[in-house]
Amino acid sequence: MTALLSVQDLSIGFGTGDPVVNDVSFDVEAGQTLALVGESGSGKTISCRAALRILPRAAQIRSGSITLNDAKGRDVLTEISERQMRDIRGNRISMIFQEPMRSLSPLHKIGNQVSEVLWLHRGASEAQARKEVLTQFERVGFPDPARAYDSYPFELSGGMRQRAMIAMAMVSKPELLIADEPTTALDVTTQAQVLGLIKELQKETGMALILVTHDLGVVANMAEQVVVMHKGRVMEAGPAGLILNNPAHPYTRQLFDAAPEIPDKDAVGIPMPDEDLILEMKNVCKTYTMRSGKGWKADKKIFACRGVDLKLARGKTLAVVGESGSGKTTAARIALGAELPDPGSEVLFRATDTDEPTMVHSMSRDERTAFQRKAQMVFQDPYSSLSPRMRIQDAMTEPLEIHGIGTRSDQRDKAADMLKRVGLNADMLKRYPHAFSGGQRQRLSIARAMMLDPALIVCDEPTSALDVSVQEQILQLLEQLQASLNLSYFFISHDLAVVARIADEVAVMRQGLVVEQAPPETLFYNPRHPYTKALIAAQPEPDINRPIDLKLVALGAGSPDSWADAFRFSDSMIPSLIELEPGHKVRCHV
């Protein structure tokens, strides 16, 4: 039997440079799932895009062949004309992309964009296509398909957009689906549900799947065959069970070692100490009002934070986890004084252990300047948080200039010193950000935050845009800086494995409420709240014998009304946070 898609000795290069994909070969059998694993720059995306011939303009396929072999015939995809290729795209092979937020046109209705596939390949009429698309929408889990059909992408959440993308890829019943990091941009719970959906659809239609990912946990949950790529070459290939249980190639092993895991040992963590608090948030609330835009409808209130109490002791790390929209970033912004909380909220900050606490939101001008020196932030996206038009040196000395600290040469020395501290070279000061990789840029943002010798650093998902191995290095750097400078971190993340690694205390947030709070060991070994359980269950683990428990995820990640009686809350009635054991608080009715 010949494979559905066969890639033979494929080499792809840009211009006259060395090939970025080098002699890559793999086969995908009908109905099977093949995972292409590797870090950014490994060539995994470009090799799978070659199958549809959607490559960047400067790239050319230098040698090798890609052959599609299905019920409709045998086509050598690297040789057929552009016109023939168009008949294959979206029809026999479809593709799902990484960023659901940007992969749909913002100006066209979802229904129009999905139906288009049927107009193109089936010559369907508008009404026929609509009927089929609505069925497909229902299948991928839209609660109201007709409404979704007439929605614009910006009216849907990320998970829903990715479902629309899946519907678009599936509606023509392709033989092969290529999914390029389909869930990387999504929350863990949404990721679990989307992966579950893809798997189910695959079982129903018998299509084959190429899954491009950097996450070994996703591989373990989805794939039958694995191809590990590194620097354009295949490092290791074989059945998933074999590779995941017993990686032969050192690079594969390296990937495994870098992937952080949620521990589940029987351990009781040490609660956050109660004295020498650098930051204390008391009953912090933040309500946004959304204008309904219609006179007869009342304005809608959105509770971004509801009675959040958090304490961060000096030299410790407090992590806040939750899905997007849970209020974790709002809490951090309030802690930094970047946002004004509702009246009655209190945020206290103590720069050193001998200082009196100051209220962050009622500071005088001088106090505020002093506070800003002591509290800094590291952002999520290292690509957009550094100005592309500023040299590293200018970006790093700018905070010192603003606060008028030191002479020009002092500032430069300090910048050079700081670069060394974060593991970069002082001679990189003259460069511009584009000359650095993602991991290096994140080191730069950390170095910039450190320039003012802060006591508190707010890290907003500092590793979620990075590869696993780079993520590991950044986490190590953060730990090392904390140990040597006694820094305190307010750490925001949606990745429990990262949090487990770095935090001293974890607060889980949902809809503006802290639903559970404990030291990581306690929280992960003995989670009590259904939402925490869902978060933990949704985390894909690189172990083929422990698949994601979708039922548990659905139970906890659904609306609070579906939770067990003890945990339910509504806008009018919210249970309080109860301390079950020392340092372990859960929001429930007793």
Binding site: R89, G90, V117, F154, E155, M168
Partner: protein, 342 residues
Amino acid sequence: MIMLRYAVYRFFTMLLTLLVVSVLIFVIINLPPGDYLSNQIAELQASGQSAGVAKAEFLRKEYALDRPMWQQYMIWMGFMPGPHGFSGLLQGNYGWSFEFDRPVSEIVGDTLWLTVVVNLAAILFVYAVALPLGVIAAARSRTWIDYTSAFVGYLGLATPNFLLALILFYYGHRYFNLPIGGLMDPAYEGLPMSWDKLKSILVHLIVPTFVIGTSGASAMMQRLRANMLDELGKPYVETAIAKGMAPSRMLTKYPLRVAFNPFVADIGNLLPSMVSGSVLVSVVLGLQTIGPTLLTALKTQDQFLSAFILMFVALLTLIGTMISDILLVMLDPRIRYEGRDA
């Protein structure tokens, strides 16, 4: 429903802006010391012609130029009764031109709509040329098509318009027997509109449209090309290709729709820049548009004439921006649904 409410709202803000603009225009025109009549009186006294002085003094009274400025404004606009009761812009009396010694409405008359016609033709030309060329230049960026269109575009931008006008007149007349100068055959001037007159106007429009439109078209083409290039790198374009769309359809349906926004937003800006930019061209080409008249009026401090023309140009601009705003709301759902809860 949302659209209608927005259009009404937009219309009222336009009226309000127009009111503010009218104050500004009036103040600015009156900023230089003296006015047409006092200049004339001084001149006449110097040469000892007392009869003329009496007439000028009479006109000063007649047009309330002896009153304080705010009253002059109110009378001009028609908010306040003047020497002859309510008789201002609102009542349809555009005032008196001292330079030409005729009512403003008579001087401006035909040139008003000819200005509109010439500029509309130029704008249509700009869009008709810039749209396809910009898209093609972006889709085939860094090929000979791109480079050629950019080169021709820069030539268009850099060549002085009046020079281009003269060259076109010469060759147009020599090879295509196109008429030189004017907006219609002199034989039709003052005659009511007829089929032949229209034909004559259209033939006369060819060269002016081309001359006034080229620089605008090449600027807009470059802008559209840059916008398109930004959009072509977006993931949704890749999605459309992966669907199996043909390139031409894909380009027009997706990236062009997004790149089109700034294009539409430009309508408002295009109008005034063309009216003021075409003054020199109109003089050279002998077009009976409002530009040359405005120039004379400003030079001689003929205040009612210049104020009226400036008001007219402001009105055109405001209508242009209103149209582009309403079009944008129709084109872009993200603007339309702002404030609607998802």
